[in-house]
Amino acid sequence: MGRVVFFLSEAFRALRRSAAPSVAAIVTIVVTTLLLGVLVPVLKASESKASEVRDQIGLEIFLYRDASGAEIEALEKKLAVVPHVTAAAFCSPECAKKQLTGELKGDLEGSISELNSNPLPPSFDLTLDDPDNIEAVRAALLPPNDAGKPTPISAAIDPPIGEDRENAQIIREVTADVKYVLIGISALLLVASLLLVANTIRLSIYARRREVEVMRLVGATNWFIRWPFMIEGIIVGLIGAGLAVGILWVLKVTVVDSLSSFNLVDNVSTMAFGPLVAMLVAAAVLVSALGSGITLRRFLRV
């Protein structure tokens, strides 16, 4: 017990004495934690949005309106053996009209019933085992003919196939890119905080080299010498994380909560505040402990 008090008092004494580098490290940790605190929920949200989009990725094959029942049956059999296709659901013009009615809302909903006839073509909805195989399936449905020109496997198919779904693919790729850029920035910031904590501890070791020398001379154990520095680093991390969490909470109350009444934010699934705070504090403490540990290994020969 006496030891813990000793370590803590030594750590706080050191923090007071080297205030400037400590403040620099704390501010960097605040910025990093703050960015992580914003990025992680955003990443989470874009992830859930992306997977929503991803789940929608399938292939829709439109048929000519005059396709005969025999042609449709033959195509259904062919589709069943195309690799990566897990299901092929036929949708007649009536079924397509029903689907469209379900998707449209408000004023447009009534407009469907005003149509005299059903202009919608019959179609097959293909479900794929993995959206990444979309190109392979499309190639299988459009094998090149003798002249090398892609030709549908059935005369009933109205090409092109699945072009309208490419937007989904683009969204998917862009969100993935954004994700990588954000992860890259957070990684850089994490490294910066780690190095700044390491630097603070290094200065602290330098400022307390006499103490360290005396401790070694009178036979303090290695960990007894290291602990105050370790605790100093962790305190820096905790203060930084605490400030960042405070700012995040203010942001949440003033921005996110008030926006959510407009249904803008809360319809994307994101992280609860509690686990987010726990994760951020843990990350900040881990980073600062690592920073101290690295410096102690390098600069505190005991």
Partner: protein, 288 residues
């Protein structure tokens, strides 16, 4: 079995204010079967860069001895002290403390070796932002001594070195001699069986130096082996103790001090003062 044993003996007090004085004859006959406290065998220390600080140095010091190590600057005296506390390791040869080869024991045992060896340096190595009391208590804190023990031992040792009146002063409020007394108090607060002093009087005037030597002598009389490194040939010759002379890393003289006899600390100080021609000004350095 503990690595080292302090040999504090209870005895009658001849010297007022002395801490557990133990009149004893020197050099002590080595108890049969007990290895010498310090034994250096053919130790060679080479610094990075190729400078050979010690070259096949061998020496042996028994328990209870008061030994001087002398030699010109850069001869390897301080390197010897560093080798004894395993601050540096010899490239060849052995350093044994109480029969144990200190360089073959695991590194995490080194702190425990250093707890049994007190060290004093020319530059005192006091912490300037702590009081005299805290400087001494610090040495106990960092080895995990319970607080009750710190509260008991610290004032006791400061009384021994004669600084009980300056307990709350900061080091820069003390004279050089007083600062060295604090350093000695810190080194001896655990009553280690071996006390190493590297140029303890290097920064001090002759009168103050005699006071420090007197204090070291008194510590020696409690049974502690004292090794004093100094380049002050004159002082050493007057002390009439064993002298080990090193030159360019080699042992050039190992001479048991001729003709000294068992004397009390006051007799000791009076004799040195007379021999060095320093006026015997009564109380030395705050010993009230």
């Amino acid at each position: 079995m503990p690595l080292l044993k302090t040999r504090n003996r209870k005895g009658r007090s001849r010297d007022a204010g002395a801490h557990r004085p133990a009149p004893r004859r020197q050099p002590s006959p080595r108890p049969s079967g007990q290895p010498p406290l310090v034994s250096v065998e053919d130790a060679t220390v080479v610094y990075p860069g190729g400078h050979v600080a010690l070259e096949r140095l061998s020496l042996s010091i028994d328990r209870g001895e008061f030994v001087f190590v002398t030699g010109p600057t850069g001869c390897g005296k301080s390197t010897l002290v560093k080798a004894l506390i395993r601050d540096i390791e010899p490239a060849a040869g052995r350093v044994r403390i109480a029969g144990k080869d200190i360089n073959s024991m695991p590194h995490d045992r080194t702190p425990y070796l250093r707890r049994r060896i007190g060290t004093v340096f020319q530059d005192f190595k006091l912490l300037p932002n702590r009081t005299v009391y805290d400087n001494v208590a610090y040495a106990l804190q960092v080895i995990g001594e319970p607080r009750s023990q710190i509260r008991r031992k610290t004032p006791e040792i400061l009384r021994l070195v004669g600084l009980q009146a300056k307990i709350h002063n900061y080091p820069d409020e003390l004279s050089g001699g007083e600062q060295q007394r604090v350093a000695i108090a810190r080194a001896f607060v655990n009553h280690p069986p071996l006390l190493l002093a590297d140029e303890p009087t290097g920064n001090l005037d002759p009168e103050t130096s005699i006071g420090i030597m007197q204090l070291l002598y008194r510590i020696n009389r409690t049974g502690t082996t004292v090794l004093v490194v100094t380049h002050d040939r004159e002082m050493v010759d007057k002390m009439r103790r064993r002298v080990i002379a090193i030159e360019e890393g080699r042992l050039v003289r190992d001479q048991a001090g001729g003709g000294y006899h068992d004397e009390s600390t006051t007799e000791f100080a009076a004799r040195i003062r007379a021999e060095m021609g320093v006026a015997g000004g009564g109380a030395t350095n705050g010993r009230s």
